[in-house]
Amino acid sequence: MPTRQRATQPDGATQPDGATQPAHAARTSQAARASQAATAKAQRQRPPEQYRSDDDPRIMLDREVGADLFEPIPPYPVRTEREAEFYTRGDGEMFLNVGPHHPATHGVLRLVLKLSGEQVVDVDPVLGYLHRGVEKICENSDYYHVIDQVDPLEYVSSLFQEWAAVLAFEQLMDVEVPPRAEYIRVLTSELLRVSSHTLFMGFLALDLGGLAPILYSFIERDEIVEMLAALTGARMLFNYFRIGGVNGDLNHEFLSRLGDWMSRAAKQTEANTGLLNENEIFVRRARGVGILDREMALRFGVTGGNLRASGVPFDVRRAHPYSVYPQLDFNVPTRLEGDSLARYLIRMDEVRESIRIIDQCLHNMPDGPVMAKLPRLLRPRPGRAWGAVEGPRGMLGVYAISDGSDQPFRFRIHDPSFLNLAVVPYLLPGNLLADTMAIVSSLDPVLGGIDK
Amino acid sequence: MSGSLDSYLVLSGLLFAIGTFGFLGRRNAISMLMSIELMLNAVNLTVVAFGAFVKPLQTHAAVIALLVIAVAAAEATVGLAIVIAIYRNRKTPLVDEYDSMSE
């Protein structure tokens, strides 16, 4: 089995002359043979020891610029089967580095594209430029502090990430959350969902070359973060949810801003979506591009709007109700096309549903406390808990293990963008370079969450 | 100098000779095509020069030159398409490596 061989193989650092055969030698396809030749060649031309970045095959070294025109990528000993396949170039193909600093990659995502002309043949996403080891940090902070550690993960809609963590901890501790707190959680996070989806619309248009929608969507976002700032004190990283409730009751400024916004939210949303829905160029760019069918969407573990655009009505709010969602009346919109346009339209439908939910929350909001009574130092009984909420990008989950101490023994964060982005190598091949942006953007990844 | 037909014709002849050398001497198929373009240009220069100096030929020469330019464009299109097609199969633009018809 290739992986076993690879795992027991001494790597390039121990044998710099590279006399060993690559691990995938068992594979007798043409690709393997070609990559063996490439490997041997690369090893012969290896730069001196002090210039080598141990075994990253994709780093373009200064020494090599100009030696091989436009051919910096052919790798050093490949590490996996997939890498051998990817870094074997066919006839007339070239590699193109998109990112990590590229205008259209939504953060520090790097996509190594294998192009034939302008057509994408294969793609290898490279992650980790924003990795901070949040899980490790959380395992070394106490339960209260975890919340502000997870806050900046999905920085576009940080309340959802807080909610997932809080949900898991509440299960660990068997805390009963007051109903008013639950309503406030739903209210604020649905507001943030509207903001996130509106922002998605703007960035999708921007990646397709339209300048105007992003500014219109920032107007919406600004109003929402301003009203949340009135409630929580921060515009972006709110740190508002607490184990057993929320930090502070609704205040007058929040409510007046919210009422102001609600009076025209629906109309404004229609106007903003009209910017793109009725734009022939936009619709033609997005329709039929990056089709993800139901079967593949399930096999890839895609969640959220991306899954619902492929026809699976999986929404954690309905599929596995939490908080007060069972008492609220809203629909789970689905579409069957599974293309970029469907993913866009699903999110716009969700904005309408969210506005309905906000309306119901405002009308049904009970009185009462917003925090449960909890000790100053939390030491839950040993156990395991899984809390999942439906974020704007899909299911946000937290898997927490307690060992009885005041810090979580294991704190696992599941981010939907991570699995949504994993679809990219499946969706891109066969499309044009320009569609890369339409597809990646329509999956709506947030790199803060992906890289943890 | 510029007033005599001879100088233009000699210039055209030199250009034609350079083109001939390029066509016969270069290995690269595209270089050879470029040399052919130079030779066609030399011919065109002759035609226009005659037109400019010989009164009865005047407008006729311009028409012929236009036709030659059009034919040259067609030739370049097809020639380059052939070069690219061959390049796709043989992976080299060098004509002396196109040594077998089969494969």
């Binding site: 690879r6 121990t14 590490r79 490790k136 040993p382 | -």
Partner: protein, 185 residues
Amino acid sequence: MDRSLKRRLEARLSSQLRGPVRQRHDQTEIRIGPGDVPDVLRTLHDAVDLRFEILADLAGVDTGQEMQVVYHLWSETASDWLRVIVEGISRDDPRCPSATFLWIGAEWPEREAYDMFGIVFEGNRDLRRIFMPPDYTSFPLRKDFLLPDDAARSPGAGVRHVERPHAPAVVAGDPAAGIRRAPAS
């Protein structure tokens, strides 16, 4: 809590289960050994009364004594999340069958678990590091890897246990520093 799910699971997987099916809040938990992973996952996915179609999460866990791989699954037929814990994976040479034959999307979480714990998923055809740089030499979420202020004393730092089996797995230093506190469950 979905009592019927417990019955169905016990009926279907009686031979592979290690220990009882536990239920708490809205989660049902089963434990299996690493050898049974492909069979159990396929049964969970395909059996008509189970149909666990959505892989919600795949996580690695280092308990201090052993490695675990934890799957969270969701199905329309049950009102509970199903948690499948693969236990009994050796810390020195952690290996577990890959779930990519069923869920292609498990590829990246498996890479993450490999990156963070060094668990080798056999059958994953792209098991590289995903977050840490390729020349990184340890597995940060292991319990014997301490945070940077203690990293020099961390027995887990600086060594790739799995990739260099010939290298000593334990580095000289304070052996007690490896495990900070008693493992859970």
